[in-house]
């Protein structure tokens, strides 16, 4: 009895610092941002409570919907692409192939490079005058005229997706590799005895046992893709003509020009979207139920 009480008390002690830091670095800023979104908080105007006026202005702002459309499209295209590529890499590197250790390390390199740097590298690849892509176009005789890769909506979108996929696919791969390593080899051996083919083994063993890990990877990628900023800021600056403007970039423009309340409203919308998607993924992964098994 007494030992249990002490344990409970000391567990609170262990949780205390964590709770403190969560409050300081998460609850406080999020609440602050939410409160600020209800104010007219513009550096050159008097601060005033305006209720949901910032949200009304936000939802009637064509630029916001443009940014929202791009952001959602980006999530829908880039996340599945990264998951599929990551899964393919993880499955390959899970087999005993020559130089596996080295290849595993090499695959991780893009993830280790800061996003701003990789975006700059890709910008040099797409560069109109001296980029590697146009060099190939010329050398391979595809066209005499250089291609303005970032000059069309589709081209800029594809460039952003490619840059992001190059950088973050290794992240998905490494998480899935960890997941694959935790599946007992004996299950596959038994399935082979039952004459289950590769596809059957993949469908009935790999996918169900990898599922929670897959969901975690998708969750991380979705939230990250939803608030995409750095790659776009460096690669396209939101152009051409706002075609690759993300919601984060949209909010950033107002934060950096002294219109904090409006920027806060855009951030709150993004936060709510990320939170609901997280809840959705947690449900999908069935993390709540696992305790009872």
């Amino acid at each position: 009895m007494r030992a249990e009480t002490i344990e409970k008390l000391s567990s609170l002690g262990f949780l205390g610092p964590l709770a403190f830091f969560i409050a300081l670095f998460i609850v406080l800023p999020v609440t602050g941002t939410f409160v600020d979104s209800l104010f007219r908080d513009v550096v050159f105007l008097d601060r005033a409570f305006i209720g949901l006026e910032n949200y009304r202005a936000l939802f009637s702002h064509p630029g916001f919907w443009n940014a929202m459309r791009f952001t959602l499209l980006f999530v829908i295209v880039s996340v599945p692409l990264e998951i599929l590529l990551g899964l393919a890499i993880a499955l390959t590197l899970n087999e005993t192939i020559p130089l596996r250790g080295m290849i595993r390390a090499v695959v991780l390199i893009p993830w280790a490079i800061p996003a701003a740097v990789s975006a700059r590298v890709f910008e040099l690849i797409y560069n109109y005058s001296y980029g590697a892509a146009n060099y190939l176009v010329r050398v391979l005789g595809i066209s005499r005229e250089p291609v303005n890769w970032l000059g069309t909506d589709l081209g800029a979108f594809a460039a952003v997706v490619a840059t992001d996929a190059w950088k973050t696919t290794p992240f998905v791969a490494i998480i899935l590799m960890a997941g694959l390593a935790s599946i007992p080899e004996i299950l596959y051996a038994q399935a082979r005895v039952d004459r289950a083919g590769f596809i059957r083994r993949f469908r009935s063993i790999t996918i169900p046992l990898l599922w929670p890990v897959l969901i975690v990877a998708a969750l991380f990628r979705t939230i990250h893709a939803l608030r995409i900023f750095d790659v776009i800021y460096v690669l396209t600056g939101g152009g051409p003509g706002g075609a690759t403007e993300s919601v984060s970039l949209f909010a950033y423009r107002y934060f950096t020009t002294g219109d904090y309340g409006f920027g806060a409203a855009a951030s709150v919308v993004l936060f709510i979207m990320a939170l609901s998607l997280s809840v959705f993924y947690v449900r999908l992964g069935g993390f709540g139920k696992r305790r009872r098994e």
Binding site: F14, P17, V43, F44, H61, P62, G242, T256
Partner: protein, 451 residues
């Protein structure tokens, strides 16, 4: 027994963990100001900051005040952010700072600039001081570094194709660029007639304001009041021309609207791949430096206009110096400001950094003229230069303009609809800031239209 043994140290660890952030905050708040110290905020490259340090050493030798440099990033946007945060949160530092000409309206409206009182503004460009540095009749800032858009041209190529001099009108520029490009393409397939800043950033708006010319721009006088109207015919003519340079005549590179900023434009011209270039004055010294492929062949002129014998309308750029209204050492800040805008430091900034002086009385200085022969052209340009609107929300207006102008250059939207779209987004912004009085009569905001 074992319980107490392991449980005891925990609270002590916890205590220190809990205290850590508190200590951090305390430590950060500890740089209390002392009597004779002022903080000067300036950004730039390491070499620029070195020159500032020399100037400060000079100032300190003749003054009781000590100056601490608050180093800012070289990037203009990040400098603005740093100043916004410091000033908006009511800090008493920095006391004196350098700001982009495009921010003065914001800083003045926010009440962050301390009136400079009675300073003799005679040695400065009168029309610049009137346009930029005075707000509600009070002098709030002074120019330190002046910029205005210029037209660079290849003297050798104009001669080769039989032209007497640079174009005076935009139509002439188009015709010359088309002809020369056609000829030069035979040897140099990457040659273009005219390079300018078209990427989605502030420089695009600057170029647009210049190409729109007189009668174009953002603010217009109507019935004795300022009206914000982007849909005037001059704006449409300017934007249509810009789009056609890329899409119709093909005399500006396709990458104009994706990649062309100041440096990309300068390098393009400097590598000998363009006839005309729109750029700031800084490009001159670099074009004429040893090792530059176009050295000795570069001419510089006023931007063309749209009407005969009407000079162009360069956009005013540059940096101004002001004193924080929250400064705890306004006297020291004032002494330093007076020093920075005086002849000696201005000349040194010009010689060492190529900063075009804020003082007009240095534009006939023999030493400067020898090093910068383009100064007389620049002086003319500065006498005609138009500043961007001195509105506190100019930066937000510019963000809207950047996006829609860029979309028009990309061919996603025609110039007319692009400008109408721009106008309605700007109207919504003005409505949010309670400044509908700036709108033309009968305007409906984007919100009311239910867009």
């Amino acid at each position: 027994m074992p319980h107490t043994g392991t449980a005891r140290p925990i609270p002590r660890i916890m205590l220190s963990v809990l205290c850590f952030p508190v200590l951090l905050v305390l430590a950060a708040g500890c740089d209390s100001g002392n009597g004779h110290r002022i903080v000067f905020s300036v950004g730039g490259t390491p070499s620029a900051l070195l020159v500032w340090e020399e100037l400060i050493a000079n100032f300190e030798a003749q003054s009781d005040w000590r100056v601490t440099i608050l180093r800012q990033p070289a990037d203009t946007g990040q400098q603005l952010q740093a100043l916004l945060v410091a000033l908006d949160s009511g800090q008493d530092d920095p006391d004196v700072f350098i700001m982009d000409v495009a921010w003065v309206g914001l800083f003045a409206a926010a009440g962050w600039l301390r009136p400079l009182g009675t300073i003799d503004t005679e040695p400065f460009f009168e029309q610049v001081v009137e346009q930029v540095d005075k707000y509600n009749g009070k002098l709030l800032a002074l120019p330190v570094y002046m910029d205005a858009g210029l037209l660079y041209y290849r003297k050798d190529l104009l001669k080769k194709y039989g032209y007497a001099g640079p174009p005076r009108r935009y139509e002439e520029l188009t015709a010359m660029a088309v002809a020369v490009q056609k000829g030069e393409r035979r040897d140099n397939p990457g040659f273009y007639g005219f390079v300018w800043q078209g990427a989605q950033y502030e420089g695009l708006v600057v170029n647009f304001l210049e190409f729109a010319g007189r009668g174009g721009g953002m603010l217009h006088q109507r019935n004795g009041r300022d009206v914000l109207d982007m849909t005037v015919p001059e704006n449409r003519r300017g934007l249509t021309w810009m789009r056609d340079l890329i899409r119709e005549h093909g005399i500006s590179p396709p990458s104009t609207y994706t990649a062309m900023r100041e440096e990309e434009v300068r390098l393009w011209f400097q590598q000998g791949n363009a006839l005309f270039e729109r750029n700031w004055p800084y490009a001159y010294a670099l074009h004429d430096a040893p090792g530059s492929p176009v050295r000795g062949n570069v001419g510089v002129a006023m931007l063309p206009g749209w009407e005969t014998d009407e000079p162009g309308l360069p956009t005013l750029g540059g940096w101004h110096i002001g004193i924080s209204a929250q400064s705890d050492a306004p006297d020291g800040a004032m002494a330093f400001l007076r020093y920075v805008v005086s002849r000696g430091p201005q000349k040194r900034l010009a010689l060492r950094l190529g900063w075009n002086p804020g003082r007009e009385d240095l534009y006939d200085d023999p030493e400067l003229l020898e090093k910068y022969p383009h100064l007389p052209v620049l002086e003319t340009a500065l006498e005609h230069a138009r500043s961007r609107p001195l509105l506190p929300f100019y930066i937000q207006l510019s963000e809207i303009a950047q996006q829609t102008l860029n979309a028009a250059l990309a061919g996603n939207i025609a110039p007319g609809p692009a400008l109408r779209d721009m106008q309605s987004q700007m109207a919504a912004l003005l409505a949010r800031y309670g400044r509908e009085t700036l709108l033309p009569e009968g305007t409906k905001t984007a919100g009311e239209r239910g867009q």
